[in-house]
C-alpha cells in the first residue's frame, strides 16, 4: 500500500523547513472523481494531499508550465519545487533533465511507487459500473481497486479498470527520487508491454490505413494532446507559427512565401500530418504517460502512435526513454549496428 501519511509528512516537512517553494501534488477535486493537481505552498495545505488510483495526471507537465511562468515572473523564488511523482511522471522528469530543460537541483522528487496498482481509466470504470457514478477509488490488495459510488461500493480487478498504459507499464516506480515511498515491484500481474500496439501492427496495411483514417477524420484539432504533454514544451509549435506577424505593412508576397508545413484546417490529411509530426517529435522522448489519449475529446488512440515508436526504439536501438538523464537521446545518437537493410 502507498503510505499517503508519509508523503504528507514529508511534504509538510519540506514546506515548513523552507527547502521548497511549493509542493506539487494531488488533492481531491471539487468536480468529478479524478484528483486534481495542486501547488501546495503552505504546510497546512499538505493535509489535503492524496494519492489513490484517481491521480491520473502527469505532474511533470506543471514543471514545464512553471518554468514558462517563472521566466516572466517579476520576482522569482529560486528554491526548488517539490513534486510527487509516480513512475511515469518521474520518467518524464528524467527526460526533461536529459534535455536540460530543467536542472536536477530545481526539483525535489517525492517518488511514489504504484506497486501492483495503477491509475484508473474513467471510461473503463464507467463501463464496469454500468452507469453508477463513482465517488472514490482506492487501492485494494494485489492489483484490485475498491470503488465506492452513491449507495454502495465494490472491488473491481485492476485489469478491468486500470488505464492501458498502467497495464503495460514498464516501471511502476521512479528510478530517480530524492524521497521514495512504497515498494519497488517489478513483477506486475498484467499483460505484456506493447500489447495494444502489437494488436494493431499485426493487422494488414489496408486495415490499419482504414483504422487511422477513421480516427484522424474525427480529430478536431483542439490540441489538448499537445497542451497536456510534458514533452511538448516548444515556445512555437510547427502547427501554429506565432512568430509570423501579419501587420499593415506585410506584403502579399511575404504572406504567400510563409512556410506552412501543416495547415490548421481539421481535414483528414492535415490531421494525419499533425499527429505524425507529433509522434516523430516524441520519438525516444515519450515516456508513455498516456495523457494525450486520456484528454482526447474524440477518443483517438494517440498512445498507439507513441508506443509504436517506443517499441521500435527498444527493439531496434535498445533505447528506453526516461531511465537515465545522462544517456544521449534516441535521435541524437547512433550505433554502427543500427538497421541498414532497409536502405537500398
Amino acid at each position: 500500500m502507498i503510505p499517503v501519511e508519509d508523503i504528507r509528512a514529508r511534504a509538510k516537512d519540506l514546506l515548513q523547513s523552507g527547502k521548497v517553494r511549493a509542493v506539487l501534488g494531488y488533492r481531491r477535486s471539487t468536480a468529478g472523481l479524478l484528483a486534481e493537481p495542486a501547488f501546495m505552498t503552505t504546510a497546512d495545505e499538505t493535509a489535503a494531499l492524496v494519492l489513490d488510483p484517481t491521480c491520473v495526471g502527469n505532474l511533470a507537465l506543471y514543471l514545464v508550465n512553471e518554468k514558462k511562468r517563472m521566466k516572466h515572473a517579476r520576482q522569482s523564488d529560486k528554491r526548488p519545487l517539490g513534486i510527487v511523482a509516480k513512475g511515469c511522471d518521474s520518467r518524464a522528469i528524467t527526460v526533461l533533465l536529459q534535455e536540460n530543460h530543467i536542472r536536477r537541483d530545481e526539483v525535489i522528487v517525492l517518488g511514489v511507487s504504484c506497486e501492483t496498482g495503477g491509475m484508473i481509466d474513467t471510461r473503463k470504470l464507467n463501463k464496469a459500473l454500468r452507469g453508477k457514478g463513482a465517488t472514490s477509488a482506492h487501492f485494494e490488495g494485489e492489483g484490485g481497486v475498491r470503488v465506492s459510488y452513491v449507495g454502495g461500493g465494490t472491488i473491481l480487478p485492476g485489469k478491468d479498470v486500470l488505464a492501458d498504459r498502467c497495464l503495460e507499464c514498464a516501471k511502476s516506480y521512479p528510478l530517480d527520487a530524492d524521497f521514495f515511498f512504497g515498494e519497488k515491484v517489478d513483477e506486475r500481474p498484467y499483460g505484456p508491454r506493447f500489447a495494444a500496439v502489437s494488436a494493431i501492427a499485426e493487422k494488414g496495411s489496408e486495415e490499419r490505413s482504414a483504422f487511422w483514417d477513421a480516427h484522424f477524420e474525427r480529430c478536431i484539432r483542439c490540441y489538448a494532446c499537445r497542451a497536456v504533454c510534458p514533452m511538448c514544451y516548444c515556445d512555437e509549435c510547427v502547427v501554429d507559427s506565432t512568430n509570423f506577424i501579419v501587420g499593415p505593412t506585410t506584403s502579399a508576397d511575404e504572406k504567400a512565401d510563409r512556410v506552412r508545413w501543416i495547415n490548421r484546417s481539421a481535414t483528414p490529411s492535415e490531421n494525419a500530418m499533425y499527429h505524425m509530426v507529433r509522434a516523430m517529435h516524441l520519438a525516444g522522448r515519450c515516456i508513455d504517460c498516456g495523457e494525450c489519449e486520456r484528454v482526447c475529446p474524440v477518443n483517438i488512440p494517440l498512445r498507439l502512435l507513441n508506443t509504436m515508436l517506443e517499441r521500435e526504439a527498444l527493439e531496434m536501438f535498445q533505447y528506453t526513454p526516461g531511465i537515465d538523464a545522462e544517456q544521449p537521446s534516441l535521435i541524437s545518437s547512433f550505433r554502427d549496428g543500427d538497421p541498414n537493410d532497409f536502405v537500398r
Binding site: 481535414t267 509530426v277 521500435e312
Partner: protein, 149 residues
C-alpha cells in the same frame, strides 16, 4: 500478349511524382553523373539538393507526401563516407523511424525509400529511380496524406 500490352499501357498512364532529397556531396553528384553519362532513367523524380541526408527533417518527407508526392526518396552517402562524418548515421536512425511510422499509419512501404548513392554511382542512381518509379506505378497515386485542395 495483347492483355500484357494493354496492362502495360494502363500502367504507363499514371506517372508518379517522386520527390528525391539528395545530399549535396554524394547522391546529388551521383545523379549528375547519371545525367552526364547519358544514362536512361525515368524523369519522374524531382531532385531536391540538401546539404546532408542528416539534415532531412521528417517534416520534409511528410510535407512532400502532403503536397502530392507519390513517393519520397532520401539518398545520402554510404555509411562512413559522410562529408560531415556522421550525418548519414543520424539520418539512418531517423528515417527508419519515419518509415515505421508511415507503415503503421497504413502508407504502403514502397512509397518511401532511402538509398546510399555515392558520387561515382551514376548507374546505381538510375537503377534506384527506375525501380522506385516502377514500384510506384504498380501502387497508383498516393491519396492518404495528400491534402485535398
Amino acid at each position: 500478349m495483347q492483355d500484357a500490352a494493354a496492362a502495360k499501357h494502363d500502367a504507363q498512364e499514371f506517372e508518379p511524382k517522386v520527390v528525391a532529397f539528395l545530399c549535396k556531396w554524394c547522391s546529388s553528384a551521383g545523379s549528375d553523373l547519371a545525367g552526364v553519362s547519358r544514362l536512361k532513367y525515368p524523369a519522374n523524380a524531382v531532385p531536391i539538393q540538401v546539404m546532408c541526408s542528416g539534415s532531412v527533417s521528417p517534416i520534409y518527407i511528410l510535407s512532400a507526401f502532403n503536397k502530392g508526392a507519390d513517393g519520397v526518396l532520401v539518398s545520402g552517402c554510404h555509411p562512413g563516407d559522410c562529408h560531415y562524418l556522421k550525418g548519414n548515421y543520424y539520418a539512418r536512425r531517423r528515417i527508419f523511424l519515419v518509415q515505421k511510422l508511415l507503415q503503421f499509419i497504413g502508407v504502403e512501404p514502397d512509397r518511401f525509400r532511402m538509398s546510399w548513392v555515392s558520387a561515382a554511382e551514376g548507374v546505381k542512381y538510375a537503377e534506384v529511380i527506375t525501380d522506385f518509379v516502377n514500384d510506384l506505378k504498380a501502387l497508383g497515386p498516393q491519396t492518404k496524406l495528400k491534402a485535398k485542395r
